[in-house]
Assembly symmetry: C2
Homo-oligomer: 231 residues x 2
DNA sequence: ACAAAAGTGTTAAGAATACACCCATGT
DNA sequence: ACATGGGTGTATTCTTAACACTTTTGT
């Protein structure tokens, strides 16, 4: 930050600043990402992350909230956890000109996107079956997924993807979906309970011709690091 | 990235984009950061991170290299490892107007900064004895230090701070300086050697009235994750 | 009674921690 | 010979990993 007044007034032309969001949610025990179908060129009618420009005077987080509301009908409080990821800045990423994009990851319990004039049919896609994507958005999603995997192992971030009351089986399936490998049931439960992040409730989940599951609740709904990293 | 042509042409005014760098190096077994004394307002003659504006058409990494060269006489290849940290974007962080700053961490074996017209006396300060800083640069350094601590535990990032040939004592001191706590000598050596990242050389370090130290060399000079995290 | 998912313990191997003395060198 | 930092091993505790059967419910 050492540009001078003259730079600001004359020579200096900043790149365009944009914000793109990767919203994750679990649907049927599989990790999904929210995509919208682009209404305009470039990449018209291709699938893309919800994103938009960031004007002077608003923070990137404010821009994110505004854009998600307008383009997907999603409110800031639908996201249990939001984290800035990375700033993508290669000159060629937008065919119209240099656009630097600050990216965010948002985790939600449930997403009910709404279509509108700006973007028809926002829709959730399984991360393992994504359509072809506009811009460098496939890279951004890959980056976000890696970050999520890492966060899951050393923080309590799962809380943001599960309902308030959850069974240990639901929890394990969430981990398996994101880490993309099977976990041992007994070891998983022993380890998770030892971390002491969740407490049993008086509720049970009855959902079929089998023994009902004990429901647990996270003691804290804020991000915290784990004493010992998970898996 | 959904702004329209009309936004680009008329209404849309992006914030200024800047890049700030946190360069770390070890001096006398203590972690140091490179700071420059600001030549102009605002914060004139206060210490600050080397930074500058990012023009349209250059990547933030290119801007970083250009700025470090111009303001501190440091070349890109003096940095063994560079990593993007975070993008700071609060509206009030620059008194002249909204400036969004993409920040980088750079690790060097040795820094020999050069003063010049743009910034007198770039200088290394111990992270535990920083002067008062311009802007939100104290926050940025704290963020970088946390990231460095984390990187040290799950990657081989130390290689970027040590000379090509190093003794296990030097290595341990580097860890102690950054993690800011003492480590057990025998356990440290056992664990580090088990990771198999370094190999002994035929060289020794003689530097006083005591037994000379075996010198090691990292097998790879690229960042890699450790199988088991360190400490 | 049977199908379906919930729930539960033990053993063995590996990793982390705590801890104290001898070694090689220069002066 | 002494001061200085370099180098080494073992015992204990904790953590991880592997593994299979019983329980509770709905139909």
């Amino acid at each position: 930050m050492q540009y001078t007044k003259s730079n600001m007034a004359n020579e200096y032309q900043p790149p365009i600043l944009t914000v793109d969001s990767v919203l994750f949610a679990l649907v049927d025990d599989a990790l999904h990402v929210l995509l919208i179908r682009r209404a305009a060129e470039p990449f018209k009618s291709q699938w893309a992350l919800p994103g938009g420009y960031n004007a002077s005077g608003e923070t990137t987080r404010q821009a994110m909230d505004r854009i998600l509301q307008r383009k997907a009908g999603i409110a800031a409080q639908d996201l249990q956890l939001v984290e800035q990821l990375y700033t993508f800045d290669t000159v060629a990423r937008d065919p119209r000109g240099h656009a630097v994009s600050v990216t965010y990851m948002g985790l939600a319990r449930k997403l009910s996107p709404q279509g509108n004039a700006h973007a028809q049919s926002p829709q959730l896609f399984p991360v393992h079956a994504l359509p072809s994507l506009a811009y460098d958005h496939a890279d951004i999603i890959r980056y976000a997924h890696n970050r999520l995997r890492a966060k899951l192992t050393y923080t309590n971030a799962v809380f943001a993807l599960l309902p308030e009351l959850f069974s240990l089986t639901q929890l394990q399936k969430a981990y398996e979906a994101i880490l993309d490998r099977p976990l041992d049931k007994r070891n998983f439960r022993k380890k998770f309970l030892a971390l002491n992040l969740a407490e049993p409730t008086t509720h049970q989940l009855k959902e079929g011709a089998h023994r009902p599951a004990q429901l647990y609740r996270f003691k804290r709904q804020e991000l915290q690091e784990l004493e010992r990293s998970f898996d």
